[in-house]
């Protein structure tokens, strides 16, 4: 149990947003906006 939630619930609830942040950082690295 972490903060009163079972381990799976805790890691999913807080891990998914972290995972999305990582994916969005990768997007930032690979997206080529071209010339403005």
């Amino acid at each position: 149990m972490i903060i009163g939630l079972d381990d799976t619930t805790f890691f999913l609830a807080f891990g998914i947003p972290v995972l999305i942040v990582i994916v969005l950082l990768i997007w930032g690295r690979i997206y080529n906006p071209g010339e403005d």
Binding site: I3, G4, L5, D6, T9, L12, A13, I16, P17, I20, V21, L24, L25, W27, G28, R29, Y31, N32, P33, G34, E35, D36
Partner: protein, 502 residues
């Protein structure tokens, strides 16, 4: 003394908004300045604009209220809503903005008209849908504003509407998107700072996270899970099937709302789209999680007899009142006001711009000059403010249902033509029209069935969304492919970054 402090706080807040409107009005020289802030928004102004346009009163009051009632199974809302901003920028915005720069778009309807080679029909259908859904949304926002002002000042509902309506109308009318973007930056900052200060104090006063979660578990053990196994009670609607439809509704549908997606056409540089998604999501998700956990904390405080909450959407407000002395809490009441006002102003401008640019200029009077377009937009903003304020004096009993209906209609009407238009070369004008019209009609039918006939297992918009997808695919394949020059000039194809492909 406390009364004086309350009034002073809100008066200062309104003076700041009006001053920004006045300063912004000096930058308005052309209709592009008014509609798109001269396509000159910087990185952080854009990030705050798109986040604050998405953050409505429902976000702050409704999602903590939902947390209060349902517990952790609706935490997904806190992921899907911030995600919609990233989806809006990446899936719809990055590519459309680039095409818009080349083709000179002012609104999303410009893109629809260009991509679906239909100067009037598609533009007209999309434009009317935008105005209709935005007006309903606006009634909801005005109702929320007046609830907050009545709470702060103890004035009548009508007086509250008149004060708030006049202020928002004036700064939107004066400064167009410049005023909306700048005020949203300040309002967004107020929301973030306010929530970051308040939430930890509220969580602490409720006994800390472990205690809050054990209180929730004592009400129903499923309240500390990530979904309910079945809809066995009114509060247990967040089943896996419902959450799947919630993902489509919030993560895809909300981001295609006209008052959110039009913001991508106003950025100064295309390169902002590299890190704007992570900046917007990162800030927004933290604030959203804290808001939801405030709802959990309120439930724990109530269950342990430390405070009372008259109705669930009052959970955030009651918690703020519970932890702060009388003289201080009006400062934080302003953040609730900021959340509601920041959506209201953007929706008002969207209605004005759609009516003046898409309907008046592009359908009825192609020769209208810049001055006339801006003047018409201002007139429509005024008319929309009056009409929705009158409706908000006696809000329909089904207001919350109507607002969910408008988000559902947005998912059914706009997402399919947008995605198919941008990424599928075979998508035709007839397919887009079928998807829009059938999406709209079936959303209304399924929404009615869900409310009055029998509760559907998924959110009603999921069914109309699937029908819209089917209509787009079947009708497009049965009709003549789009002209080649249309596909080339609108950079249609399965790619986002235009430079590498062209």
């Amino acid at each position: 003394m406390a009364e004086f402090f309350k009034i002073l706080t809100v008066v200062i807040y309104f003076v700041v908004l009006m001053s920004i409107g006045t300063i912004a009005s000096r930058k308005i020289k052309t209709s592009q300045d008014y509609i798109l802030a001269g396509k000159n928004l910087g990185f952080w102004v854009f990030v705050f604009l798109i986040v604050a346009s998405t953050t409505s009163g429902m976000t702050l009051l409704g999602s903590s209220g939902l947390g209060y009632v349902t517990g952790w199974p609706t935490i997904w809302e806190q992921i899907f809503v911030p995600l919609t901003v990233a989806v809006c920028i990446i899936l719809y915005g990055a590519k459309m903005s680039k095409i818009g720069r080349i083709r000179g778009y002012m609104t999303v309807q410009d893109y629809f008209a260009d991509r679906f080679y239909s100067k009037r029909k598609i533009r007209g259908i999309a434009g009317i849908s935008v105005i209709a859904t935005s007006l309903v949304y606006l009634v909801g926002q005005y109702t929320a504003i007046s609830i907050v002002l009545v709470w702060i000042f103890n004035i009548s509902h009508a007086q509250a509407l008149l004060i708030a309506g006049t202020i928002v109308f004036l700064y939107v009318m004066l400064g167009g998107l410049y005023a909306v973007a700048w005020t949203n930056t300040i309002q967004g900052l107020a929301i973030i700072i306010g929530v970051l200060i308040l939430a930890p104090i509220i969580i602490n006063s409720a006994g800390g996270m472990s205690f809050i979660n054990s209180t929730l578990a004592s009400i129903d053990p499923n309240m500390i899970k990530l979904s309910y196994p079945s809809a066995y009670a009114g509060y247990a609607f967040a089943t896996p099937a419902f959450l799947l439809s919630f993902f489509f509704l919030l993560a895809l549908g909300l981001g295609s709302s006209p008052h959110i997606i039009n913001n991508v056409l106003a950025v100064r540089k295309q390169k902002y789209f590299k890190y704007a998604p992570v900046a917007a999501f990162g800030i927004y998700v933290v604030v959203m999680y804290l808001i939801k956990i405030v709802g959990f904390s309120a439930r724990a405080l109530v269950e342990n007899g430390e405070m009372a909450v008259p109705y669930s959407d009052y959970a955030f407000v009651a918690s703020v009142e519970h932890i702060l002395p009388d003289a201080v809490w009006p400062i934080f009441a302003v953040i609730v006001l900021a959340a509601v006002m920041s959506t209201t102003d953007r929706i008002m401008l969207t209605i004005g711009n759609t009516a003046s640019w898409d309907i008046y200029k592009n359908i009825f009077n192609p020769n209208a000059d810049d001055k006339k377009i801006t003047m018409y937009s201002r007139l429509v903003v005024f008319a929309a403010a009056i009409v929705t304020m009158i409706l908000a004096i006696n809000p329909p009993e089904l207001l919350a249902w109507l607002i969910w209906m408008t988000i559902g209609i947005t998912l059914s009407v706009f997402v399919v033509p947008l995605v198919a238009g941008l990424y599928w070369k075979r998508a035709t004008k007839e397919g887009a029209m079928a998807a829009m019209l059938l999406g709209f009609a079936t959303a209304v039918v399924f929404g009615y069935m869900d409310k009055y006939v029998s509760k559907l297992p998924m959110h009603f918009s999921m069914y109309s969304f699937i029908i819209a997808v089917a209509a787009m695919v079947i009708v497009s394949l049965l009709t003549k492919p789009p002209p080649k020059d249309v596909i080339e000039r609108t950079f249609t194809g399965p790619f986002i970054s235009i430079k590498e492909e062209k």
